[in-house]
Symmetry: C2
Subunit: 153 residues, 2 copies
């Protein structure tokens, strides 16, 4: 059964990944969205403070989004998100790194402005194969409530 | 001349875009990173609270990143960013929307932990062709200081 607002109980935790990031992917994303030298060129990456060919932070975020979609979002009555409270790129994500993590429900509330929709706040943590946190974020996502789905069923 | 830390004076404003977003791009990005129905299917988008085939918020963010790269980052001594303070996706970005905006320097400081590198905080505002803000964000980016560049020149 697809997840509705009520399924996101406080403390519920969803597993993200694993997902390995290749050098080719890093360069392809960066060429399109973030063509800074350390994201498109191996030697420039090594010479930078990132220490190697490193994914754009936005690429890391997009990969985290995909892991979240596969973990629980596509199989839910999600209505999208109004934004991101914060996003920390704590360590560079380098070519061949394997990412995994989890999203934990930290707050839930019914939306007064949108009856039948509830907002779920998550804390997301993504780490690399050395168990170093590479990305930490919190954001809220809107989900349809079960009562609405039952009425329209 | 490429921009170094000292060039990011308080209040300096950089123009972003314009950049038109196509339906094909929205679907391509979403299939790879955010395959929720409203981002990959026209009818599902119209049926959702987004009101049409809508770009993933992460796609909007990646497009904003590209506009920033083209505006000033690629032509600078950027050393990357430690994250995003916040990112608000205020309005859906729909197929055929044209985005533009600006990044304004709101804070600068030398990094004690990384001598020769300074942190510049920006406020970013992106709007659509109707002058509606679609994306508002603040984040800090690291830049090499001119004194370092002169020493190594």
């Amino acid at each position: 059964m697809k997840l509705s607002y009520e399924d996101f109980e406080l403390g519920r935790r969803f597993t993200l990944g694993p997902r390995t990031v290749t050098a080719a992917e890093i360069i392809e994303f960066a060429r399109e969205f973030d063509p800074q030298p350390m994201h498109v060129d191996e030697a420039a990456g090594r010479a930078s403070i990132l220490g190697g060919l490193a994914a754009s932070g936005w690429h890391t975020s997009a990969l985290f989004m995909r892991m979240m979609a596969d973990s629980f979002l596509v199989d839910s009555f999600s209505q999208g998100a109004p934004g991101v409270d914060f996003m920390e790129w704590r360590k560079p994500v380098l070519a061949s790194d394997t990412l995994s993590g989890h999203s934990t429900v930290v707050e839930t509330r019914a939306l007064r402005s949108k009856p039948g929709i509830g907002m779920v706040k998550f804390r997301h943590e993504v780490e690399n194969q050395k168990n170093e946190l590479v990305c930490v974020s919190e954001n809220s996502i809107m989900f349809v409530m079960r009562e609405v789905l039952e009425k329209t069923a």
